[in-house]
Symmetry: C2
Subunit: 200 residues, 2 copies
C-alpha cells in the first residue's frame, strides 16, 4: 500500500527553494513576497504552501538545503589552526551575499518563536557542535587551556562576528578576524595566559 494520487513534484520543490534563496539573499526577507517567489519558481502559490507551512519555514529550508554545507569545517595541520581557518570561513561567509540571508532570519526570529527554535536547532547548534569539537581537540593537543568553558568561549568567538553582521558599520575584514583570534588566544591559549584568574 504505497502512496495514492499524484506524487509531489521534486522539480517544483527545488525550483521554489532556489528562487527563495536567490531573492531573499539579494533583497531581504521582508522585501520579497511569496507571490514573487512562486512566480520566479514558475509555480503556483498553493504548491509552495503544500510544501512549506509558511514563508519563514521555506527560507529556513533554503538556507539549510542549498548552503548548509558551505561552512564545512576545514582540515588543518593542527586543531588550533583549524579554529583559525574556521573563523576566517565564517567571516567570509558573513561578508558574502549569504550574510544577508542570515541577517534576515535572525531578524525574523525575534518575532517568530518557531523560526527562532528552528534557527537555533538546525543552523546554530550543529555549527557550534563543530566548533566544540575543534576546541576540544585544541585542548587535547595542548593549544588551549584545559579549564575553559567551551560554550562561553564559543559565544565570545562568534559574538563579535554576529555583532558586526547585524549592527556593525565596519566590515568583517581580515584584520578584525585576526584581532578576534589573537584576543581569544590571549585569554584561552596556554602560551599566553597564566593558569589562574580566569575562573576564580
Amino acid at each position: 500500500m504505497g502512496t495514492i494520487g499524484r506524487p509531489r513534484s521534486q522539480e517544483a520543490h527545488d525550483a521554489i527553494l532556489k528562487a527563495a534563496l536567490r531573492l531573499v539573499t539579494k533583497r531581504g526577507f521582508r522585501a520579497v513576497g511569496v507571490n514573487e517567489i512562486a512566480a520566479a519558481a514558475g509555480v503556483g502559490k498553493m504548491t509552495l504552501y503544500r510544501h512549506w507551512p509558511n514563508k519563514a519555514a521555506l527560507v529556513m529550508d533554503s538556507l539549510l538545503v542549498l548552503i548548509g554545507s558551505e561552512t564545512a569545517f576545514p582540515e588543518a595541520g593542527s586543531a588550533i589552526e583549524s579554529l583559525r581557518q574556521q573563523i576566517d570561513l565564517q567571516a567570509a561567509f558573513f561578508r558574502s551575499p549569504r550574510g544577508n540571508l542570515i541577517r534576515s532570519l535572525v531578524a525574523e526570529a525575534q518575532s517568530d518563536l518557531e523560526l527562532a527554535c528552528a534557527f537555533r536547532d538546525r543552523w546554530l547548534n550543529p555549527r557550534r557542535e563543530g566548533v566544540r569539537e575543534i576546541l576540544r581537540a585544541a585542548i587535547a593537543e595542548g593549544s588551549l587551556r584545559r579549564d575553559i568553558d567551551i560554550d562561553t568561549a564559543i559565544d565570545l568567538l562568534y559574538g563579535s562576528l554576529y555583532y558586526r553582521l547585524l549592527l556593525g558599520s565596519d566590515t568583517l575584514d581580515e584584520p578584525f578576524v585576526d584581532h578576534i583570534y589573537q584576543q581569544f588566544l590571549a585569554g584561552h591559549g596556554v602560551l599566553y595566559a597564566s593558569d589562574e584568574e580566569i575562573r576564580p
Copy 2:
C-alpha cells in the same frame, strides 16, 4: 511671529511615548499595532502620525526619551573598574524587559535602513563613545595596553552581549559577564598580556 493655530499637546506626546514603550517592551514590535498604541494612549491614530512619521520612529523615540539615561556610565575608583561596572550594567539592562525593546529594534533595523541609521547614530554610537572614554582613561591609568584598537575592542566586549541577547539560549548572567571581562583583560590588560603578538 510665533506659531499659528492650536499648539501640539505635550500630554498626548508623552502618553503615546509611554504607551509605545510599555506595549512594545512587553509584547514586541511586530505584535503591537499602531491602533493599539493610540488607544492605550487615549489618543487618535492621526495624532500619533502627526508627531512621528511611522511606527519605527515612534518606538525608537520612546527608547531614547524614556530610557536613554538608564545606561548612564558609573563612576568608580578606577577607569578599569568603571569598565567592569559598565559591562554589568549593560548585561542587567539586556536581562531586563528593556532587552526585548532592543531586540525588536535591532530586528526591525535589518529591513528598515532609516531605523538602522537612527539606531546606530542615536543609540549605539553615543554609548560606544562613552565606552571609548572609559577605555582611553583605562589606558591612561595604565590598566590597558596603549596599542589596542579601541573600536575593535568595543566590538569584542559588546558583541557577545548582543549575541546572547539576540541568539542565545543561555542567560546573560554574572558568570558570563565575568568571563567576558576576564577574557578582555587577558587580551588587552597590561598585567596579563605581553607587548607583542597581538598586533603583528
